[in-house]
């Protein structure tokens, strides 16, 4: 059966969302995927994907082109039939999702440019009529910042405005689950910031569960409670952004300038201790102090390059082994196809 709680305003604290275990009180995950497999002809695209996404969570699915992201999401959206495996979205198998199920899901696709001749408010009002208890279109336009464009024709909107209209259309029926497909492609920084704020508000204030696919690692890091990396049809890593970064490269880089003006840098698993020791040793402020944690990008590139058949990495153990290499240095080594997974002496 489905989860007993489908209130569109279910409270979800960020803390609960970031820890998968803490979400158990909302009974079932919004999305549960186990051993999902997909093949087109003789080509296997997904080799047993497992996922659990909980209520109110912002979940990012990352991966290079051709990794199976789109296929996975389209199976979840009910647009594709899977080859094998179990999939449950809002308690229903997507291949059997009827109108009522559809009404609980919102979709934002990057390639939509439909209804060009419609006016913004007209379109939103129209799509409200399909839903039993829609949001107020005027309020929604304000929420996505399109009040001024209400009477404008849709094809006169900028890329960012168009996407925000797509979000408004996707949430007018108060969905519990929102799919965002590379939503900020082509946005300027300001539009991107505005979009992120909107997405965060939806998740935090209204408990909407959000599945985001993106190429923008900074976006995933900023928005997502948890991130899964899909590489070659397998989930290679899944966790909070900092967990992923920690697992990929346990060492942070500390840079500073010594009293005689020469720059120094050192890798450490415990930057706090190193900085404390530096302070103790110098007895005062440290010049140009900088602590650099490995970024999600480091993790991502690391993982993608591991999968490269030319590299030395053993793909199947990647999930367990990502902690074995060190930070910034590992990237260059991977690109050279050498010493992947080799433990580096500090």
């Amino acid at each position: 059966m489905t989860t007993p709680e489908h209130s569109p305003v279910a409270p979800a604290t960020p803390a609960a969302a970031t820890t998968p275990g803490a979400a158990t009180e909302s009974a079932q995950p919004v999305i549960r995927v186990s051993d999902l497999r997909m093949s087109y002809g003789s080509t296997d695209v997904l080799h047993g994907v497992d996922l659990e996404i909980h209520r109110g969570e912002i979940f990012a699915l990352l991966g290079p082109n051709g990794a199976g992201k789109t296929t996975t999401v389209e199976i979840l959206e009910g647009f594709r039939r899977r080859s094998a495996g179990e999939v449950s979205v809002l308690g229903t198998d997507p291949t059997r999702g009827g109108d009522a199920w559809r009404g609980r899901i919102g979709l934002v696709l990057q390639s939509w440019r439909d209804h060009r001749r419609w006016r913004v408010a007209e379109l939103l009002k129209h799509f409200a009529t399909y839903h039993p208890a829609p949001r107020d279109p005027a309020g929604l336009l304000a929420l996505v910042g399109l009040t001024e464009q209400a009477d404008q024709q849709v094809d006169r909107l900028s890329g960012g405005q168009r996407r925000r209209l797509d979000v408004a259309l996707a949430i007018v029926g108060r969905p519990e689950l929102l799919f965002l497909d590379e939503p900020t492609t082509g946005f300027d920084p300001e539009a991107r910031r505005g979009f992120h704020d909107l997405v965060e508000r939806l998740a935090r204030d209204e408990g909407v569960t959000i599945l985001l696919t993106t190429h923008d690692l900074a976006e995933a890091e900023r928005l997502a409670d948890r991130i899964a990396m899909l590489v070659n049809g397998r989930i290679r890593a899944c966790g909070t952004p900092s967990e992923l970064a920690r697992r990929a490269a346990a060492q942070a880089e500390v840079r500073w300038t010594t009293a005689d003006g020469s720059p120094r840098r050192e890798r450490t698993e415990d930057p706090s201790r190193l900085v404390w020791e530096l302070h103790r040793d110098t007895g005062g402020p440290i010049g140009d102090l900088e602590v650099r944690r490995p970024t999600l990008e480091d993790t991502y590139l690391h993982m993608v390059h591991r999968e490269d058949p030319a590299g030395a990495g053993t793909g199947d153990s990647a999930g367990a082994g990502i902690g074995e290499t060190t930070g910034a240095g590992a990237r260059g080594e991977n690109e050279a196809g050498a010493s992947d997974g080799e433990k580096r002496a500090a």
């Binding site: 489905t2 789109t70 009827g98 009522a100 696709l109 439909d114 001749r117 039993p132």
Partner: protein, 357 residues
């Protein structure tokens, strides 16, 4: 309990009629079943809209039915959305000068042609212009179903409107309702403008008496039914609007010439007559001639009569064939839509990313 909830939260209370309450028991059982199995009917609903039988039941909610609000019954909501949509699309059409002139240019061509033609239908005193205008009326109906409609469908498929509606509860039934409305309005508008303008400006034909009007009505309606589902099937199959136009226009023009729409069929070789008589345009034109021309004009018909039973039979056969083709093809088209296919098509079309970005 559920019944009162529906009444309480509905925003269009007039929709909650006695008849609806009567149906409630049935729907509740449906919901219970769905609640237990969590099982929904296939979500495409492509054809269900035409019969008003959308999938899903009253709320279709599973155990959350108690917490989630329910508005008017889905069927009514979808029909209403479809009618609203049809109205809005019509308004857009009428207000779009480019598209309107595209439709009106046909009428102007027909009027100019009728103005130039001064001879009589051979063996009669009926002006040839009347035959040509009747033929044009038939052709324009034919074109709405087999040229304009497929183009609209292909364009909206390519832009993603179909996908958005597929992702919207009741979207596909509403889309079909809207498109039907649109086609009927276009046909009606075209006939009124063409025949009205012809009657006023070039002494064009109008039906003689109530029988003639009745014939005009049923031939137009049946003619539309013969071409619209077929056009929908074509629109579901064709790859993109540009190719669609090229693929459809040529055969359509060929039929315009060979179907006796422009000049009497008897002037054409027998083989051409035989081929043209397989297609609906010949019969639509013949039916409209019977409504618009005096009976004396029968002399120019190959059979020497209007053959109205055959007209009805052949048009019905095309309608049946059209529906048989359109239902699975539209279902398939709707099912195949997905974000990645949309992106792929856009890439192929060389349109790239967000057009207005």
């Amino acid at each position: 309990m559920r019944g009162t909830q529906v009444t309480a939260v509905t925003n269009t209370t007039k929709n909650v009629t006695g008849g609806m309450q009567g149906d409630m028991g049935e729907d509740m059982r449906g919901d219970m079943r769905q609640g237990i199995t969590g099982d929904m009917a296939e979500g495409i609903g492509t054809t269900d809209g035409t019969t008003g039988q959308t999938t899903g039941g009253t709320t279709g909610q599973t155990t959350d039915g108690a917490t989630r609000q329910t508005g008017p019954r889905p069927h009514r909501r979808y029909w209403r959305a479809g009618f609203l949509r049809g109205g809005i699309e019509l308004r857009h059409l009428v207000r779009n000068p480019k598209e309107m002139s595209g439709h009106l240019v046909n009428v102007v061509v027909a009027l100019l042609l009728a103005g130039y033609i001064s001879d009589k239908v051979p063996g009669t005193h009926v002006p040839m212009a009347h035959l040509t205008l009747s033929g044009f009326a038939a052709y324009l109906l034919f074109q709405i179903g087999l040229v304009n409609l497929p183009q609209i469908l292909v364009t909206e498929r390519e832009e993603g409107a179909l996908l958005r509606l597929r992702a919207t509860p009741g979207g596909i039934p509403a889309y079909l309702v809207a498109k039907s409305l649109m086609v009927v309005a276009m046909a009606l508008g075209t006939l009124v403008i063409l025949l009205g303008a012809a009657a006023l400006l070039v002494d064009g034909p109008l039906p003689h008496g109530p029988g003639g009007w009745l014939t005009l009505l049923w031939v137009s309606a049946l003619g539309l039914l013969a071409v619209v589902p077929l056009g929908a099937a074509i629109g579901a199959v064709l790859p993109n609007p540009r190719e669609a136009l090229a693929l459809i226009m040529l055969p359509a023009m060929g039929l315009l010439i060979t179907s006796g729409a422009m000049f009497p069929l008897t002037q054409l070789p027998l083989v051409v007559q035989k081929i043209a008589s397989v297609f609906p345009l010949k019969w639509m034109a013949q039916g409209l001639r019977s409504a618009l021309l005096p009976d004396a004009a029968r002399a120019a018909e190959p059979a020497g009569s209007w053959e109205l039973p055959t007209v009805a039979l052949i048009l019905t056969a095309w309608a049946a064939l059209g529906f048989l083709l359109a239902i699975p093809l539209l279902r398939r088209a709707a099912r195949r839509e997905s974000g990645s296919r949309l992106t792929e098509r856009h890439r192929k079309a060389g349109l790239g990313g967000a057009r207005t970005a």
